[in-house]
Amino acid sequence: MPRAGSAAIGKRVGAVGLVLTSLLAGCGSGSGSSSGASTPASLSPAAALGKTMFDDQALSASGKQSCGTCHVKSFAYAADPATDQGLPVPLGGTAFNLVGLRNAPSLMYASFTPSFDADNIIGGFFRDGRASSLAVQAEQPFITEFEMANKDAAEVVQRLQTRPYLQDFIALFGAAVLSDPQTALQDIAKAIAAYETEDATFHPFSSKFDYWQQGQAQLSAQEANGLALFNNPGKGNCTACHPSQRQSYSEHPLFTDFSYDNIGIPRNWKIPANTPNPVSPIDGTPLDYVTLPANVPADSEYAYYDLGLCGVLAPPADDPHPRPVFTSVTSLCGQFKVPTLRNIALTAPYFHNGIFGSLREVVQWYVTRDINSNVGNNPLPQPNPYSPAYLGADSFYVAADGSPDALQYNDLPLDFDANVNIAEVPYTPPTFQGGQAPTLSAAEIDDVVAFLCTLTDGYDPTNPAAYVLPAQCAAVTHATTSIATMP
C-alpha cells in the first residue's frame, strides 16, 4: 500500500482461530523450517525471565492483564478481539473497566524497528514512534492508567517482589535495584524486550512467501498475481511503503519501511474516546484520561482526535533518546507509522483505530477512497467532479449516527486535511487515469489479499496442506493453480 500506507494495519486479531501457536513454535526451530530466523534456539536468562513476565498478569493492578493479554501469540502477538467485547481497543485499568485509545499492534518483527530518526521521520516504537526502543516501549503499559494501571514504578516493583521469579530477577539485576524502582522497571522492560528480540516466535520468517523466496514453495497463480499487483507502481503500489524487497533492517523483506503517513482513514465510532462524552462501555466511568488535543482547531467537527505524531501522547520522560515533541508541527498531524504486513491476515481489525475488519475492506478502501467517498473537503485540483460532498450510503466516512459524514477524512480536523496523502497510487484523484476507475478491479483486490495471506507465518514446505489461514483468506481464493517454483 502506498506511503501513507496502512499505517495502521497492525493490530489485532483476525478472524479465525488458528492453531498458530503450534505452527509458530514449529517454525524458527525445527523441522524443515530453517527459515533464517536470526535468533538463537534457546533464550538468554534475561529473555527467559522476560518471557515469564510477558505473561504474568500479577504485575498489573487489576491482576488480569499482562503484555500477553493484548499481544496474543496465536494472533501474531496482536489482540484477540474476542477478549475486548468487540471493541477495537483493549480493555484495562485497575478494575479492568477502562479502554485504550488505539488498536493494539502486532509485536511480531517489532525488534527490527530502528530508533526514531527525526531527520527523516522514520522508526521508533508505538504507532507514533514515541519510544526509542523496544525496552522503553515495554515499560509504558505497566504504568498506563488504562492498561496495567500501576500508579508508578514503585507499585510495579512491589508486585515484582511477590513473584516466584524474584530471585531470578535479583540474580540478573542485583538486589539493590529493588530500592530504585525506576531502574527496576527499566530492567523488567529490558528483559521483556530481550524476550521479544530473542524468541523466534516473534520473527520466524516462516511464511509461505519466505519459502517461496527460498524456492521451497509455490505461490498459486492468484497469489503470484497478487504479489505483482502489490509491487506494480500503477496498480497496488503497496511496496512503496511496505517493501517486498529486503532493506537494511533485515536479510528478509519486512514489508514496512518504518516511515510515517497520513492516509485519512475514517473515524471509528466504536472507540469510546471518539464519542462526545467518553465513558467506559463497561460501567459508564468517565474516561478522564482522554485528553483533548490543544492543537485541534477550535472550529473542528469533533473535540477529540488521535493525531499520531503530533498527538498528545508524550515521549516517556525516562527515555534516554526521547523523540522530539511534535505537537506544534501540524504538518505531521495525522501521521502514523507504517506497520509490517507480515501476519497481517491474523491481526484484524486494521489501522490504528481498527476501523476495518477485513483486508478486503482495507484494499477496497485504498483504491476507492477518493472515488466512492465524499470528497467535499478533498484538497484536489479543480474541477472536482465529486464536489459537492458525496453522501452516498456506501461512504466509508460516517458520522456518529451512521449517516454519511459531511466531511471526508473525518478522523482529522478539517484544517489538517491537506496533510492527507493524495498523491500516490492507489489513490485515484480526479486527474488520475480519467479519475474514475480504481487501480484495482474487484478480482485484483482479491488477488492482493490472497498474496497478503501468504505472509502468514507457519508454513511447512514438507506439509503444505497443514497451512491454516484465517477465514478471510479462504474468502478471496479464486483458484488453486500453482505456478513454478522460484528457480
Partner: protein, 466 residues
C-alpha cells in the same frame, strides 16, 4: 581529462601529433575547398610533420646526451640542481567544466539550468617514467546533504612506463571504452549533453579501480588490458515508485541505465568478483581512429534471502566498437555498444510487477557527422547532426517490466501526472559547437525523440577545458 594524453602532454603540444591537432590543422582554413587545395594542404602538412619529426629526434638526442651527462656528473651538480628545483616543477593542474540550459519544449515547467560539473585535476610527475593523475569533480554546483550535488573522485592513479611500448597503471582510472569516456571534456564532443549511447550503455564517465597494462606501438596501435572492480547488482532498484526520469536531462542524470545503476566507482566497492577488459585502437592514419573494447566479469549478486539456493553467477559483459574519421572539415564518427547480464531470471521472478527488472541485454549505436563551416583565428563553428538509438532493456529473462499505462504520478507532488517513460528510443540531435578558443566552447542543439516524444528539448551550453 584524457588520461593517456597526459603521458606526453608537452610532446603533443610541441609536435602537434595528436589526432585532434591533425584534424584541427586539416580543418584549418575555410570550408568547401577543392580537391587540389586539400591535396596541397596535405602535402604541406606532410612536410611539416617531417620537420617536426626531425626536431623531435633532435630533442631526443639532446635529452639522451643530457641524461648521460647527469648520470656522470659529480655530486656538486646534484646539490646545485636540488637547490634550484621545487616540488611544484613536477606538478600539473588542469580542469574542465560545463554549464547548460535545458528546456523540454513540451514540458517547459521542467526547464533547468545547471553547473553540471566543475572538475579540477592534479598531476605529479615523479620522474620521466612515473606520474600520478587525479581529478576531483563537483556535480550540480552545491554538494551537501540538502542539495543535489555530488563531490566525486573521478580519477586517482599512478602510471609507470615500463618500456617504450608498455606502461602499467594502478588506482582508479577511466575505462578505455568508446569515443567519449576517456575524452569527456566538453570541448571534445558535439552537443550540449553527451550522447545517450555513451551515457546509458557505456556508463560514461566510467571508471573502475584496479590495474592495467597499456601502450602504443609504432604501427599506430594502442592497447589496454586490465583487471578491475566490477558490477554490483545489489544496487539494483526493483521497486521505483515513480519513474526514475521524466525528461531527457533526468534520464542522463538518473543513473537508471543498467551499468550506470550498478557500477561502483571504487566507493567501498564490492570486490569479491573482479572484471577484466581489453581494448584495442588503431590510430595509424592521420585523422582516423578505429577501435573496440570488451569488459566482462561476474557481478556481485542481488542479495538473496537466507537459505535460498545459489542461483549461479551473473556475468556482466559490455562490448563496443567505434570509429572516427576527420577528413578535411568533416568529423564523422560511429559507435555500437552492447551489454549482457546473465542469469537474471531468478531474481526477476522474485520481483513480479516491477517496472524495472534487470535486463539480460541492452545496446545502443549512433552515427554522427560534423562539419566546420567557418574558422577564423581561434574561432570555429561546427554544426553537426547525430542519429542514435538506444535500448536499456532489449531483453529480459523471467519477466518483463510492468510499465503503468495512462497518466501516472511522476513524483510525490499532488497533481504531477504524466506518461511513464519507455526505456528505449531513437534520438536525432541537430546543433553546433562554436569554439571561442579550442578550450572554450558554446553549444546549442535541438533533440527529438521518436518514442518518448515529450523529451524533445532545446539545449544551450558553455564548456571549457584547460
Amino acid at each position: 581529462m584524457n588520461t593517456k594524453s597526459m603521458l606526453f602532454p608537452r610532446l603533443c603540444a610541441a609536435a602537434g601529433l595528436s589526432a585532434f591537432a591533425a584534424v584541427a590543422a586539416a580543418a584549418d582554413p575555410a570550408p568547401a575547398k577543392s580537391t587540389d587545395q586539400v591535396e596541397q594542404q596535405i602535402d604541406a602538412l606532410s612536410q611539416q610533420l617531417q620537420a617536426l619529426k626531425a626536431e623531435l629526434q633532435q630533442l631526443k638526442s639532446q635529452n639522451e646526451a643530457l641524461a648521460a651527462q647527469q648520470s656522470a656528473a659529480p655530486a656538486q651538480t646534484a646539490a646545485a640542481t636540488s637547490a634550484k628545483s621545487s616540488p611544484f616543477d613536477n606538478l600539473s593542474l588542469w580542469g574542465y567544466g560545463e554549464v547548460y540550459y535545458d528546456r523540454p519544449i513540451h514540458d517547459v515547467a521542467r526547464t533547468q539550468a545547471d553547473l553540471a560539473r566543475a572538475v579540477f585535476g592534479i598531476g605529479y610527475r615523479f620522474d620521466d617514467r612515473t606520474h600520478f593523475n587525479s581529478e576531483f569533480e563537483v556535480e550540480h554546483a552545491v554538494s551537501s546533504a540538502d542539495d543535489p550535488g555530488e563531490f566525486e573522485v573521478e580519477q586517482f592513479y599512478v602510471d609507470h612506463q615500463l618500456t617504450n611500448w608498455a606502461s602499467i597503471e594502478a588506482g582508479l582510472f577511466l575505462m578505455p571504452f568508446g569515443l567519449l569516456n576517456e575524452h569527456h571534456e566538453p570541448t571534445n564532443f558535439y552537443g550540449v549533453q553527451r550522447n545517450f549511447v555513451e551515457t546509458l550503455i557505456i556508463p560514461s564517465t566510467w571508471r573502475e579501480g584496479g590495474f592495467a597494462l597499456h601502450g602504443n606501438t609504432d604501427l599506430g596501435i594502442s592497447y589496454s588490458a586490465g583487471l578491475t572492480t566490477g558490477i554490483d547488482l545489489g544496487k539494483w532498484d526493483f521497486a521505483p515508485e515513480y519513474p526514475a526520469y521524466t525528461t531527457a536531462l533526468e534520464l542522463e542524470d538518473s543513473d537508471v541505465a543498467p551499468l550506470q545503476a550498478t557500477h561502483q566507482e571504487l566507493a567501498l566497492s564490492n570486490a569479491e568478483h573482479l572484471a577484466q577488459y581489453v581494448s584495442l585502437s588503431y590510430n595509424g592514419l592521420p585523422g582516423f581512429t578505429a577501435g573496440g573494447a570488451i569488459f566482462t566479469g561476474n557481478a556481485a549478486p542481488v542479495p538473496a534471502p537466507p537459505n535460498a539456493p545459489l542461483s549461479g553467477h551473473n556475468r556482466v559483459t559490455l562490448g563496443e566498437v567505434h570509429t572516427r574519421w576527420t577528413p578535411g572539415a568533416f568529423d564523422l564518427s560511429a559507435l555500437y555498444a552492447r551489454g549482457t547480464i546473465s542469469n537474471t531470471a531468478g531474481v526477476n521472478l522474485q520481483n513480479p510487477g516491477s517496472p524495472n527488472p534487470i535486463p539480460s541485454k541492452f545496446y545502443g549505436y549512433y552515427l554522427q557527422g560534423a562539419y566546420t563551416v567557418w574558422q577564423n583565428a581561434t574561432y570555429r563553428v561546427s554544426p553537426f547532426v547525430r542519429w542514435e538509438r538506444y535500448d536499456m532493456g532489449a531483453n529480459y529473462a523471467g519477466t518483463s517490466p510492468e510499465i503503468p499505462s495512462g497518466d501516472v504520478p511522476l513524483s510525490g507532488a499532488p497533481g504531477d501526472y504524466g506518461k511513464y517513460p519507455q526505456s528505449h528510443d531513437i534520438v536525432w540531435t541537430y546543433g553546433a559547437n562554436f569554439y571561442v578558443t579550442p578550450h572554450v566552447v558554446i553549444k546549442a542543439d535541438y533533440q527529438t525523440f521518436d518514442v518518448n516524444r515529450d523529451f524533445t528539448r532545446l539545449d544551450l551550453g558553455l564548456g571549457l577545458y584547460f
